[in-house]
Each structure stands twice: as C-alpha cells, then as structure tokens.
Amino acid sequence: MSDIDLTRRNFLKTSAGAAAVAIAPGMMLFQVAHGESEGASSKVRWGMLIDTTQCKEGCNDCVTACNKENGLSGETKTTDSQWIRKIEIKDVSSGRELSLPMMCQHCEHPPCVDVCPTNASMKRADGIVLVDKHRCIGCRYCMMACPYKARSFVHEPLSDQNPDVPRGKGTVESCTLCVHRIDQGLKPACSEACANKAILFGDLNDANSEIAQKLRTVASTQVRAELGLNTGVRYQGL
C-alpha cells in the first residue's frame, strides 16, 4: 500500500518537474520579449505636419540631418539613395512658388505594402512603414507602386553603416521616420534639424498632442489625397 503511494508521489513529483523544465525556457523567452519593451502600439499613429510656409527655398537642413543620421552618402546621382528630398514647386497658373520636403508619407493604406511579394514592405502597429530588409529580395515592385517616389534601391555594396541603421546592397529602403530614434523616445532627425520648426512630429491619435491640436485648427492637405491612402505626413499651406 505504502509502496504504491510512494511511487505515485514520486511519479507526480517527476512529472511536475519535467513540465516545469519544458515550460521554463518558453516562459523566459516570453518574459524577455514582453518584460523589457512593449513594442509598437496600435494606439499610437506617428505622423508629421509640414508647414510649407516656414520651409525656406534653398535650405537643405532636413536632408543633411537625415543623411547624417541614417548614414547616406548625400550624393545625388540617379543610383544614390535619397530618403528625403527638397522639392521646389511652382503653380503653373498663378506662379506661386513653394519649397517643401518630400519623403515616405507613411500611408495608412500603403501601396508598397500591398504589392510586396514577401511582406518585407510592412506597416508597424504605430503606423510607420518600413522595409524589413531580412525579407526584401530586391524586386523593386514597391518602388514602382509608390505614388511619392519615396523609395531607393541600394545599388552598391555598403560598409561602415550606422549601427542603429542597417542598410545593404540589393534591398530597397526609404524613410523610416527614424524608427530607431522614436523607439528611444526621440524625434526624427529632420524634425529636430529644422531651424524654422516647419516639421512638426507627433502622435496623430493623441487628441492632446501638439500635432493633433494643430491639425484641428489649421488647413492641411495630404499629397495625392485622391488616392485615398490616408498619409501620416500632412502639409500645411500647400
């Protein structure tokens, strides 16, 4: 009788132990993954409001800051990457001239994400559109699909990249909204560099944020709004 009890007790002990051993690593990974960082949340939608009336013609500070932050060469050959560029526009009928920065518009319905065969083009929960370079096969279909020509293809081998901004030959890249800075609680480099504060960065979903308040009070437009992409980057004074 006692014999049986003992074995049963032993059996229960060992199986509980075995179960613990089996679960432990999984639990640990779970804790590591969820304990230290919360990741991107869909409650947030990052965006920008660009005040074109404050953007000076000939000023290239946002572009220079972007190049430095992300380790781009800053050259403008047709094969060089440009994540952000200044466009000078002139209304054909009225002659009104404007200067504005153009980059990935971080659409809510991004065509690049729709067309990407491998899901490398993707939208993070907080609205940032990124290229997952681990998956990008370099087919360039997203570059064909982007209505803003926001993407560049890396035509040459690169070395000595910024450790925070991996980039490499044969993959497509574009403005990441400085995701590595956002995840540290910083603003994108272009927004920080603009002396006239023409680039306002913030959370479009947070009614109390500066950007949301300003969007409520001033007239703003989305570039190529007719496509219905609901861009995260908005322009004022266009």
Partner: protein, 393 residues
Amino acid sequence: MSSHPPMYFKNHLYWVLLAAGGAVALAGLYAVHMMEHYGHIISGMNNQIVWGIPHVFAIFLIVAASGVLNVASIGSVFGKAVYKARAPLASLLSIAMLAGGLTVLMLDLGRPDRIIVAATNFNFTSVFAWNVVLYSGMFSLVIVYLWTMMERRMNPFNKAAGLAVFVWRFVLTTGTGLIFAFLVARQAYGSALLPPMFIVLSFAWGLAVFHVAQTVIYNWNEKTLDPAILNRKKNLLGVFVLGSLYMVATYHFANMYFAHQQAFELFILRDGGMYTNLFWWGYVLLGNVLPLALIFMPGMGRTRCVMAASLLVVLGAFALLYVFIIGGQAFPLNIFPGYEVSSSFGDGQIATYTPSLYEFLLGFGGLAIAFIITTVSVRVLNFMPQDKPYISD
C-alpha cells in the same frame, strides 16, 4: 554536295548550335555574377528606371510562353486536328520560354540568394506573389498536359488537362497584366485594359514564336508544311496581330481622352525621342504593318514571308515592351498636379536610362535557356507535328 546536307553535317551543326546556346547562357550567368558582386550599379537601371532590359526580355518570354499554348488549346479544347498535331511542340515551347523568362526575372533580383524567402513568406495582396503560384502551376500543368499527349495510357486525360491549361494560361497572362494594372500611381500603368491587352498580345507573340520554331524544325527535317495548313496559320497570325494592334491603340486612345493623361501620351506618341521612334517605327511599322503586308498582300504569304513576318512580330514585341516598361517609368511621376516641380531626385524630369551590356547578357541568357531546352527536347523526343492528310475542319 546535294541539296540535302549529309547526316554528319547536321549532327555537327546540332552540337555547334547547342554550344552556341550554352555560351550565351554562360555569358548571362557571368552577368549575374557581376551584378551580384558589384550590385546593380553596373546595370543601367537606377532609382527612376527601376525595371530595365531584363524585365523586357523576361516579360516577353513569359507572355509568349502563355500565348504559344493557344496553338495547343485550339487543338485540345476546340478539337481542331491541325492544331492538335502541334500541341506537343507548343507545350514544349511554352515550358522553355517560361523557364527562360523566370530565370531572368529571378536573377535580376537585388538578392537572388534569398529566393527561398519569396517561397516561404507569402503576401496574399501582392500580385507578384500570386504570379509565383501562377507560374509554377503553369509549369507543372503543361508538363502533365505533355504527358497526357505523349504517353498513350494517359491519352484519356488529355482533354481535361488541355482545358486546365487553357484556363490557367488566361489567368496567368491576366496576372502578368495586373502587375502593371495595379500600379495606380503611375500614368503609364494603372489601367484595367492592360490584362486583356496582354492576353491578346500573348496570342500574337506566342504564335509568332511557334511559327519560327516550326519553320526551322520542318527545314531541319527536310519537310514542307502543307500549304493549306500554312495558309490557315498565317491568317490566324494576321488576325492576332490586328487584334493586338487594336488593343494597344485603344489603350493609347483612351489615355488621350483623359486631360490628365495627355502629357504622358504626347510624350510616348510625339515628344519622347527614342521611345516615340521605337513605338512608331519599331512597334507599329516593323511589328505590325510590315508583318500584315507579308501575310495578306497578294503574292505574299509563302513560307519565307510567314517566317519573316513572325520574326518581325517578335521584334515589334521587344520594341513595344521597351516603350511600355521603360518609357512608362521615364515619364515623371505626377506628384503635384498643376505644378512645375524640380528636385535632386528627378522630379518633373524625364528619367534617363542607358542599358548596360550586362543587362543584355542576362536577357539573351534567358533566350538561350529557352533555346537550349527546345533544341535538346526536339532532338531527343518526338515533337515533330504529325499531320494526317489535310481535311478542312
């Protein structure tokens, strides 16, 4: 030497042809190696013209691969004996061109080493991803179809396989057209007319390639094609060429009507320099008018004329695809309608593109792969069309 070259000469010629094909394919591989090593900087492609010469070759091969099956479908699905006798050859050409085209497409990727990623991560909203399924499905279906024709015990399934291939190839060419039709942002593309246009183009291009292959095989075997059959097939080619011209004309005409598309149409049809020349002289004149004359003019339409017409149709196909793919990207994307724009990234400017030798090597490498597959298969298996005494059906 008599009019028929001796057997040993032909044997030699076969190996020489095969070696030549192999050399071209190797040159293509060399180009791939160079592009892998140095990056796409050694191609003429850039951030404005992202798809170049390799895509012209690849899309021609893929579209023609689907179109050539038309010959088989008329036989298997619609039961015309003359075409049925040609179904095996048509299927072979289809497989060969599909293989060549896909190789070019795959090896032009920025990271061809990651092709397994494309097979394991699937984005169901991407027409590229659908095409991965469509192309590989087509490949296997056509092989099964060939099996049902060449293996006597499988013959009962021939009709079903033929029907499946028939449906599949329509979907496949639709998929190829949709690659461009879904590009809503670009003036040149984003039109629902493109899938049907590609289907009709595929008929013409596929039949042209078939004619070329058939003529060469008949010559090789010192046979003459029954003039009645030749007549039927050349008329079919003429109809297809007319049909494709109609589709291309409709596409441009519809664009002309939209005020916001006029600038683009004027660029292609009038001011585009190289692109305009290629369109009118290359595609319209060499690719359509001349072949139609060779086919339908009184006194024309003999074997040699049909061969020349077919080659011209293929040439015209390349011209059209160059204008469509590269000209379409060269015209600046209209981000700010109603504004004059300029930037460091080519906004508001016609993009420049000078194809490099490596791109051509890769493209011709794809053609060479199709050539090798066809040549070897025709020699080792019986793909020669076996016609019964001709009865009009």
